[in-house]
């Protein structure tokens, strides 16, 4: 067997250098995409967990409030609960920062002026000793008495090094629209805190955090040290003693909740990343099938000389394994490089959509590499199995007659067609099950069945395209076009594999184009309907924080009194945890919404529903919230609040595409009552008819005064911002699809090169009996173009089916979004043209090689 491998397999793989390289590259790309997305997902979320662990230190139980935290007087209650060995109060918030002194920015320019996003960690240095936080080998924050000085801070060594900061330097943060300049009092030694948020942690004394970062009298968490094994009892005791809105949980619960929130996003990316790998298995199948066909006589000879069926099977399986294994190994390296590229985009999306700050450094993740390699190798083995079995069935005496390269066993195209149709029916069944019985995983199963169904239809479809094209092309383009078209149908099984590979890649591109196009039209319509305020006002830096930030009441009053302002809607929001996943609760002015806003409701009239909510103290919930938390129009929502459990009637369900985390809207007065918080986070201004928006905006900016930095955003800019976040979210998706198409194109190049080699005698004979080199080139090009057309056309149909599935089932189940189908015929025409042109370009090299091949050389092959 060793000799067989060394003498036969390896030499063949080496001799077919270009094709072997293309196949290996295809597998490498497939594995790379899978690994990179997994690494990026894990890095983004894993780093969140790691950061939580790093900040938590040795704490094993924590008491946490929602966005606004809780009354600091509860600290004593926690500390004095029996079983709590030690307790440390914590304030944790986010802010934009810059090295050096203050700089004035407004209108969304804070990213330029304050380029860093940092986590501000307020600690009580006297409570720190038992927690060994940021200690490294030293005493940690426990001995950081210098933090007690006014506006003093400590930063991790890694962060100080990155920003070039040293003790005594200044670091300025944006807090509630004002600049707060801190002085570096200590650079923390390299240690665990370096791993939290890439080291972008600014540690201040608790009092500093409370005073300068909008937490007067409030805490975000109390971390506790509880004896091992005692956690359940202490957790229960704490829960009994504390108000309803607080959570008592292990620190890791936060990572789990975030993981639950972004699960759909991660799962979708992971599913998409498998597509390129799926396409690459077709390449392995094709490569091993070609090897079997080319070497049929050799296999027969081997069998005659005593090679067993088992050894033949093993030989071809190992060839597939070699291609897959080398490709997978290469893919691991390539995947790491891709991950570095995609991580930024994944992290940005998590921040934009879910307000989760994710780090952008790749951690060591051997499991992802292991799984990527295993999937690459397993798919290669699976792809090689059928052709290897075919090879093993070769009888010891195989006559290679003229035309012997036509597949000896004719593919039962009709049976395959019936199988394909049956699979598509099963896909429909799975989709119906997913939607009717709320079985989300059935949605992905249905998508997989769609791809399998169309794959089974591919050989028959290829034969049909060939049959239809031969007379049509013959009449319109001459004999060489007819010969090219006929070559397509010569080997429907092997050509069908290529067509299937293209179909899968194109199908996903079309599906995504239709889904994203529909989604974008839906979001655009929603944005136009919903964002009706003329001017949106918030504090600079608010967007990274989104929490607990409050506008000075005098500023709000001045804005309300400005001439030209007809109505002001004010907003106050918080993040809550429900059913072990975060959701957003916001207070808005229902009366202003009713009279000026245009909230888009799933059912019913917004004016009437808002009026009813105002009258009954009801809430409106977003579509995603309703789906995730099984709430329905007319039902009751039970919400934990700082004032106890609130039972609120649901007066309506509204469309919301800003996040799938889910949102609850209630009237400001309700919010102020339950959250005991009448403050204002941001404003939407409705102008009086005829008022000059630019003038009002100038007045709003002037009303802020010299110290308060605000953003006053016209609704057009806000709409554009929403759409740009939307577009950015799908950037990775497109990247994944481009790679899947690239893998398919590699397959076409490899396959055409193989086919030209396979038909070298035939080409020589054609040249001998009078075919010009240009005619030979056209024959191969027509074949390439038709493979592209057959794949793309089938892909368009499959893509439409997948788009329906994505829109009507998968998005609805996983994200809770209603997307209105919007089909742009240009998507299909463009994709078809693009793939045919790409296939022609891919076919040019092999076609030219065929045309240039000396006729004598070809004829000498016999």
């Amino acid at each position: 067997m060793n000799a067989l491998l060394e003498w036969v397999s390896l030499r063949h793989l080496a001799r077919d250098g270009l094709r072997s390289v293309l196949t290996v590259l295809g597998v490498a790309l497939g594995v790379a995409v899978f690994v990179s997305i997994r690494l990026a997902n894990h890095a983004a979320l894993g780093s969140f967990g790691q950061s939580v662990d790093a900040v938590a230190g040795r704490a094993n139980v924590q008491v946490a409030g929602d966005t606004d935290g809780f009354d600091e007087r509860l600290f004593r209650v926690v500390r004095d609960t029996p079983g709590v060995v030690a307790a440390a109060p914590i304030v944790e918030t986010r802010a934009r920062a810059r090295a050096g002194g203050a700089a004035r920015v407004e209108n969304g320019a804070e990213r330029r002026g304050y380029p860093e996003t940092v986590v501000v960690l307020g600690v009580d240095v006297f409570s720190e000793a038992p927690f060994a936080r940021a200690g490294g080998a030293g005493p940690g924050l426990a001995a950081a008495l210098e933090l007690l000085r006014e506006r003093a801070t400590a930063v991790p060594a890694r962060y100080a090094q990155r920003l070039g900061l040293a003790v005594g330097d200044s670091l300025t943060l944006l807090s509630e629209g004002r600049a707060v300049t801190l002085r570096i009092a200590r650079v923390l030694p390299a240690g665990v805190l370096d791993q939290a948020w890439d080291g972008a942690v600014v540690v201040v004394d608790l009092a500093t955090a409370q005073e300068h970062f909008h937490h007067l009298g409030r805490l975000d968490r109390v971390e506790c040290l509880v004896r091992e094994g005692d956690e359940p009892r202490v957790t229960a005791a704490l829960a009994r003693r504390l108000p309803a809105g607080l959570r008592v949980e292990p620190p890791a619960a936060r990572s789990r909740q975030v993981g639950n929130m972004v699960r759909a996003f991660s799962l979708n990316l992971a599913a998409l990343s498998l597509i390129a790998l799926f396409v690459s298995t077709f390449l392995i199948f094709h490569a091993v099938s070609m090897a079997v066909v080319h070497r049929r006589a050799e296999i027969a000879l081997g069998r005659a000389l005593g090679v067993t069926r088992g050894a033949t099977l093993l030989q071809f399986l190992i060839e597939g394994l070699l291609l897959g294994g080398v490709g997978a190994l290469l893919g691991l390296g390539l995947g790491t490089a891709f991950a570095r590229l995609t991580l930024g985009a994944v992290a940005r999306t998590l921040t934009d959509l879910y307000l989760v700050q994710a780090a952008s450094v790749l951690p060591r993740d051997p499991a992802s590499y292991g799984i990527g390699f295993a999937i690459g190798v397993a798919s290669a083995l699976a792809a090689a199995l059928l052709p290897a079995l075919d090879a093993a069935r070769t009888p010891p005496v195989t006559e290679l007659r003229e035309g012997g390269r036509i597949e000896v066993r004719r593919l039962p195209l009709r049976a395959w067609g019936v199988g394909g149709a049956a699979t598509l029916v099963a896909a429909l069944g799975a989709a119906v099950l997913a939607r009717a019985a709320s079985v989300p995983v059935a949605g992905f199963a249905s998508a997989f069945l769609v791809l399998v169904g169309f794959t089974l239809l591919a050989p028959g479809w290829t034969a049909l395209v060939s049959r239809l094209a031969v007379p049509a092309f013959g009449r319109a383009l001459g004999i060489e076009a007819a010969l090219g078209a006929r070559a397509l149908g010569e080997t429907p099984a092997r050509t069908g594999v290529l067509v299937a590979a293209l179909m899968v890649a194109v199908g996903m591109v079309v599906a995504l184009a239709v889904m994203v196009g529909s989604f974008r039209v839906t979001v655009d319509t929603w944005v136009r309907q919903t964002i009706r305020g003329d001017l949106y006002v918030d504090l600079a830096g608010h967007r990274v924080n989104h929490s607990a930030v409050a506008m000075p009441p005098e500023f709000v009053a001045r804005v309300r009194a400005l001439p030209g302002v007809a109505a002001v809607d004010s907003y106050r929001g918080t993040r809550v945890t429900l059913d072990d996943r975060p959701a957003f609760v916001a207070g808005v002015d229902f009366a202003v919404q009713r009279d000026h806003g245009h909230l888009a409701l799933v059912h019913g009239d917004a004016r009437q529903r808002l009026g009813r909510a105002l009258a009954t103290g009801g809430v409106l919930v977003s579509e995603s919230f309703a789906r995730h938390h099984h709430s329905s129009d007319g039902g009751t929502l039970v919400l934990p609040t700082p004032s106890g459990m609130a039972r609120l009637p649901i007066a309506g369900v509204f469309y919301d595409y800003s996040t799938d985390a889910g949102a609850v809207f209630m009237d400001l007065a309700q919010y102020a009552k339950w959250w005991r918080d009448p403050r204002t986070e941001s404003l939407a201004l409705y102008l009086a008819p005829g008022a000059d928006a630019a003038n009002v905006r100038r007045q709003v900016l002037a009303a802020a005064g010299p110290d308060l930095m605000i953003d006053a955003t016209p609704n057009r800019v806000l709409r554009e911002r929403v759409l740009s976040v939307f577009d950015q979210t799908f950037q990775i998706t497109w990247g994944l699809e481009v790679i899947a198409v690239l893998v398919a194109v590699l397959g076409v190049i490899g396959a055409l090169t193989a086919r030209v080699l396979e038909r070298r005698r035939e080409i020589g004979v054609l040249r001998g009996i009078g075919a010009l080199s240009a005619q030979v080139r056209r024959i191969v090009l027509v074949e390439a173009g038709l493979i592209g057309f057959a794949g793309a056309a089938l892909g368009c149909v499959a893509g439409f089916a997948l788009a329906l599935l994505l829109i009507e089932v998968i998005n609805r189940m996983y994200f809770g979004w209603t997307i209105r189908m919007h089909v742009d015929p240009w998507v299909f025409a463009r994709t078809l043209a693009l793939v045919v042109v790409t296939a022609l370009i891919a076919g040019w090299g092999p076609a030219d090689a065929a045309a240039r091949r000396p006729a004598a050389l070809a004829m000498r092959e016999e």
Binding site: A487, I769, E862
Partner: protein, 256 residues
Amino acid sequence: MSAALRVERLVKWYPGAGAPVHAVDDMTFEVEAGTCVALMGRSGSGKSTLLHLIAGVDRPTSGRIEVAGRDLATLDDDALTRLRRTSVGLVYQFFHLMPTLSARENVALPLLLGGRARREALARADARLAEVGLEGRRDARPHTLSGGEMQRVALARALIHEPHLVLADEPTGNLDSRAAQQVLRLLRDLGARHGAAVVLVTHSAEAAAIATRVLEMRDGRIVADHAAPAVPDATDGAPAAFEGAPAIAPAAPRVP
């Protein structure tokens, strides 16, 4: 009679491990229209190389080849291809039919590649297939034909455009003796009937027997030039020795 093929001082050598290998070494000969010349010699004597040079699919190192009065050295690749379309017919040992085409499509292919209308090309293909006794198998694919049938289809293809010159490279090398005899007779008779010169590469004395003249080759040189030996079996008067083959018209010119 005019020369359908003229070869003058033809040389073809290939770079070897040490000295160059002379596949064709200073050959000169002519073949008249309507005659059949057999090129005989052992394997490696340069027969096939000479055939490729005459067909214009390979270029000589030096010397001159004229086919139907055209000097091949003056023709570029496309012009050589066009010359083959109009003036040269090729028959190979392994038949080399297009596996995806039917018998009549294979025969019509040279005309179709030359831009002839499909209807006309197929009509002429049918006529040629009838001449080789295969009118009943015109829609058959190559892999369903016997070796002899495949070579008869190849012969019909070589003759469809009524070439000045037919080059046959070991046309019976892959056939049993009965089929070989049928093909040889057809090659001789149809070549003569269409006025084509036939150059037959073979190492079989039986095959060479149908020729007017035999050129014996060794190491790329002509070492003997003589008339063909006596035909070992009685072929005259038995042109339709196989079932379904048509009788060659009595008026057709015969090889003396």
